[in-house]
């Protein structure tokens, strides 16, 4: 079981074998929307790592100490959405105050993450996998690293597509979706590593 796995196994699983974007198909919206340039893709990835780690911590605590205590486990989805939205807002304010440079660098990506299903997905998977607090935080962080890896790799592919001779009917989003599928197929190779 994944919950008995050590950190290394957890990392390999979250980043490669069960990559959020390319294997579980979560967070496809920013994956397609923010992957036109490598730099912006990397910025988005950093923002996701940041938020996913913190939200894994917060949602775990809320689930364990509020929802389980009151026997309201079935409310986890809606409660998590609420918490993630609040956290993103809070983090944004905090960053603007403390490190304006980082705030500038993350720019609009931070509020974009509020509605990113990958963040919610990580929070729910933490619960479903029965992780403890440390595992939850690590899993959230590693999943986000997997997201960053996927989006940066894909941005590289899309930059190449910019200069390619693509048939007119495939230009733009169609070819982006086709290549996303091919990148996802490449990641299928990691499934042999699953535990």
């Amino acid at each position: 079981m994944l919950k008995d796995a050590n950190i290394f196994v957890l990392a390999i699983t979250a980043i490669f074998v069960e990559n959020f974007v390319l294997v579980k198909f979560m967070g496809i919206c920013p994956f397609l929307g923010v992957s036109k340039k490598t730099e912006t893709a990397f910025g988005m990835g950093m923002a996701v790592i940041f938020v996913m780690t913190i939200s894994s911590l917060a949602t775990y605590l809320v689930y364990k100490y509020i929802l389980v205590t009151l026997g309201l486990e079935y409310l986890k989805t809606i409660a998590f959405i609420l918490i993630i939205a609040a956290i993103v807002q809070l983090v944004e304010m905090f960053l603007q105050k403390v490190t304006p440079a980082l705030y500038q660098a993350l720019g609009i990506y931070l509020p974009l993450i509020t509605t990113n299903c990958a963040v919610l997905g990580a929070a729910i998977l933490n619960i479903d996998n029965g992780f403890n607090l440390l595992q939850s935080i690590l899993f959230g962080c590693f999943s986000a690293v997997g997201f960053t890896l996927a989006i940066v790799l894909f941005a590289g592919v899309r930059e190449r597509l910019e200069t390619s001779d693509i048939p007119e009917f495939l230009q733009g989003t169609p070819i982006a979706l086709v290549s996303a599928g091919l990148v996802a197929m490449a990641f299928l190779g990691f499934s042999g590593l699953s535990f």
């Binding site: 309201l72 409660a79 609420l82 809070l90 603007q96 105050k97």
Partner: protein, 266 residues
Amino acid sequence: MIVLYAGITLGGIGLLCGVLLAVASKYLSVEVDERIEQINEILPGANCGGCGYAGCSAYATAVVEGNAPVDACVVCGNDVIKKISELVGTEASGKEPKVAKVLCSGTTECAKNRYIYEGINDCDAAARLGGGFKACTYGCLGLGNCAKVCPFGAISVEDGVASVDEEKCTGCGKCTAICPKNVIVLVPKTAKYYVGCSSKNKGAEMKDKCSAGCIGCKICEKNCPSQAITVENNIAKIDYDKCTNCGLCAEKCPRKIIKERSLNAK
């Protein structure tokens, strides 16, 4: 009963988050100069980049910080610039409003083609194929990169040559930057005459390639009473600092390539 619990819990979490955010916004609020917001509101909001900044809000920030002149916005009228300078407290140096003009008259009837172009609908791509399909390599290719980039919808392509709607043009200069042939220039709004050609071809060669273009005959140069026109590299050029809008050049031009613009547009 359980529904009540669920409602209370969720409402409680929501309320808690709300209170937390309200408190946080108080403690973590960053002093933002309110003038930035005010300037941002009166700017056109087209984010054309004509001022050299990433967008209107970036420019507003730069103005308030004193890094940008108050009149850098090429789109704003003088009234908006006046408002900005009142907010910031520095005087505008006063600028001349400009308008984009396409210096080519080689419509499909006038200009000959060297080959039939069947590539993508893009001036850049066409210009790379031996300088374009037109016999005159200085002319407008008419594939409309300028029309695509214009944030105000002021440019359209008519008869194979781009044409600027002066009512809509704000002089932001985006089209001048994107044109691979550099055939669009900004002229002062007060200028009445312009040379509708950019060709550096010699006279005889030009006559062969395009029935509209300037042949560099120097008749305008000789007739101009204020020495505002010079012919260099076989093309007439008007110095708008000297031009008095007398119109003698347009009258004398044998090719009728020095054209009059209507000054009705504001």
